[in-house]
């Protein structure tokens, strides 16, 4: 338990707000116990002022240190954004379970900078409602290979030493061995769930980048060596692990640094240890660039990058540079062992074909990830509401 306490001590929260309805929840009790010196401030409305279309730099920074525990009233579960852009992107059958939003880390490229409107970290305290949603879905689709991740608008584990939600989810997924639960993190906070009994269907995944990028662009996160050490601890306890080389950053000597990263992974793990390796190159919404420049200056490799508008509206590196980077990393992995399962995240079919010479459905070992699954009842319901102009 010492290591969990150590993890808690690394989490920097300055203010703790609690919605009155959240006060008696297990999550609130766990967080309060983990942060005994922090007074609880009751907040029925969004704390620190109303939501805004865009936060200022100061508000954004402060939002990472203020935590609001509150119930969530909407649908917890949805399909990964890439899956809704099937025309322009190839996306895996990934579903997201949003158990909060905002992140206590501060990566310069983080897409939350174009997205967030509230001035705190949010953790939803009605996890039982989320699990009830999943249970309902399981009655119909429990036999299908759904992949469910919790790291879309927050880091899956960066606050987990406070909430311990990972343990609740792992216990829940133990009942549905066909389903896969994926935690996606840039932390090394895994000790809080390592002893939890699981059904072998939990993937703990790390976004990784060369140490140089981690140090320069991924502020507040665990260093590369710490992430890899945490991955080893998970592997040793029978958890599946995965790595996302995403977002890959183009910079002088990138080949040297990405080669080193691939070598670090391949020297510590075998293809059998690693569920999948995904890759994606830097991309962000154009309107996000101003806040990024203001917060990180133009010496950042992200803000100073040469980015171009792409199909779908995001700014991306030149197509040829992306191909070169993907190709380089794929060859490096293959040079070690041809059995590494690699796929491209949020990329167009053209890039898939250029880099892997195949679309995902043609790649052995990835086919299952990409095989179309039936629409969920919840998705159909939301789509109908949108068509009918009904607001939830």
């Amino acid at each position: 338990m010492n290591s969990v306490l150590q993890s808690v001590s690394k989490i920097q929260i300055d203010r703790l707000f609690v919605h009155p309805e959240a006060l008696d929840t297990v999550i609130c009790q766990r967080v309060a116990a983990a942060l005994p010196d922090l007074p609880i401030e009751m907040a029925e409305q969004t704390p620190l002022g109303p939501e805004r279309d865009r936060l200022s730099a100061d508000e954004y920074v402060r939002s990472k240190r203020s935590l609001w525990l509150t119930p969530f009233r909407g649908t917890f579960f949805k399909r990964c954004p890439g899956a809704t852009q099937k025309k322009v992107l190839n996306c895996c059958n990934y579903h997201v379970l949003n158990l909060g939003s905002q992140c206590n880390f501060d990566c310069s490229y983080c897409y939350l900078q174009s997205y967030l409107q509230h001035k705190t970290l949010k953790i939803y305290t009605n996890v039982d409602s989320a699990l009830a949603e999943l249970r309902e879905m399981a009655q119909e689709h429990g036999h299908l290979p759904f992949r469910v991740g919790t790291g879309e608008i927050m880091d899956s584990l960066s606050l987990d030493p406070l909430t311990l939600v990972s343990r609740d989810l792992i216990a829940f997924f133990a009942n549905y061995p066909k389903w896969t639960l994926e935690f996606k993190t840039k932390s090394d906070f895994v000790d809080q769930f390592l002893d939890a009994p699981h059904a072998g269907n939990v993937v703990v995944s790390w976004s990784v980048n060369p140490a140089e990028i981690v140090n320069r662009e991924e502020h507040g996160t665990a260093r590369l060596a710490e992430r890899l050490a945490a991955a080893r601890r998970c592997r040793n306890r029978g958890f599946q692990i995965a790595f996302h080389l995403d977002p890959m950053i183009y910079f002088p000597d990138w080949q040297l640094h990405y080669a080193e990263l691939v070598d670090q992974i391949t020297s510590q793990f075998s293809p059998d240890d690693v569920n999948v390796i995904s890759m994606g190159a830097l991309r962000f919404q154009p309107e996000q660039r101003f806040l990024m420049k203001e917060r990180f200056g133009l010496k950042s490799l992200v803000t100073s990058a040469e980015m171009w508008p792409s199909e779908g509206g995001k700014l991306r590196y030149d197509f040829q540079i992306r191909n070169q980077m993907f190709d380089f990393v794929i060859q490096r992995f293959r040079g070690h062992n041809s059995r590494w399962r690699i796929f491209l995240c949020m990329e167009t079919p053209e890039t898939w074909i250029q880099s892997l010479q195949q679309t995902p459905m043609q790649v052995e070992g990835l086919r299952d990830l990409f095989r179309p699954l039936p629409k969920l009842a919840l998705e159909t319901e939301v789509a109908t509401q949108v068509t009918n102009g009904v607001q939830s």
Partner: protein
């Protein structure tokens, strides 16, 4: 009581135009009163009535200080549905003024919250930047109907840029609004990246944007230039034209052909085959 008017043709006008077109004359200058509003081309509505004189007999004068806060906000936002940065900047200053502050029914913060405008401390800084800009640039912002978001790039402008007369040069140049705003953003980027762009000013304004792009996207520009040179050296048959083009994140060859007969077509196909072999050998361009 609700004040709602059909404001389809309402438009805040610069004082100069109010005077000439609407016989509307402000006793005090802009930053001592609110902008005039013309409704259906003849009625002029003014707020802060003590500071204006109206010569048109059918004009209406409204004094905001008689209204409750919520009524005043509601009415104000329907009168001025589309304020530019120029107006916001003046409003900001005007509403800070002690006499206005004490008598006016709402504050700047009330107003921005009411119209859901993103006015944070940062926006106030942007407004302050606006005040630092030379008068010619302020006037340009008014003429081009600049909104607050148009000047967001100024927020990351390093101090050193402000001491140069760049904004003045931009305001005096024939650049379009979008080109000028793009220049402002790239200038801020280049200054932050310590790239020297002083050579740009010796060129005609029409070339500024292109030169700044070359500096801001130096690596891509060099790659594109090298691809263009390579392509130009590949011989092509008569009637066939090609050029290296960039479309956002993609680059490639735009090929056009005009064929007058089968023999010419054959020669062009031969030419395309040569292009194919030459291109296949350039791994860096695929």
């Amino acid at each position: 009581m609700k004040f709602r008017l059909d404001l389809t043709h309402a438009e805040p006008l610069p004082i100069k135009l109010c005077v000439s077109q609407l016989s509307w004359r402000a006793v005090a200058s802009w930053n001592a009163c609110l902008p005039g509003v013309a409704i259906h081309g003849h009625m002029v509505v003014m707020a802060g009535a003590e500071s204006v004189e109206v010569e048109k007999p059918d004009s209406t004068i409204l004094n905001f200080s008689n209204l409750q806060k919520s009524e005043a906000l509601d009415f104000f936002s329907s009168l001025y549905p589309d304020l530019g940065i120029y107006h916001w900047a003046h409003l900001w200053e005007w509403l800070q003024h002690p006499t206005v502050k004490n008598s006016f029914p709402f504050s700047f913060a009330d107003l921005t919250e009411f119209v859901h405008l993103h006015i944070s401390r940062d926006f106030e800084i942007a407004l302050a930047h606006f005040w630092r800009a030379p008068a010619s640039f302020q006037q340009w912002a008014l003429d081009k109907k600049l909104q607050g978001r148009d000047l967001v790039a100024l927020q990351s402008w390093p101090q050193a840029l402000w001491s140069q007369s760049i904004l003045e040069m931009i305001a005096m140049s024939p650049l379009s609004k979008s080109d000028a705003l793009q220049c402002i953003e790239w200038l801020g980027d280049l200054a932050g990246m310590d790239v020297d762009f002083s050579g740009v000013w010796s060129m005609p304004a029409a070339q500024w944007l292109q030169q700044l792009r070359k500096l801001r996207f130096a690596e891509s520009a060099a790659r594109d230039a090298s691809a263009k040179n390579w392509l130009a050296a590949v011989p092509k048959a008569k009637g066939l034209s090609w050029q290296w083009v960039r479309q956002g994140d993609q680059t490639g060859v735009d090929i056009r052909a005009f064929v007058r007969g089968p023999q010419e077509l054959e020669r062009q196909l031969e030419s395309l085959k040569k292009l194919f072999s030459a291109w296949s050998g350039r791994g860096d361009l695929t």
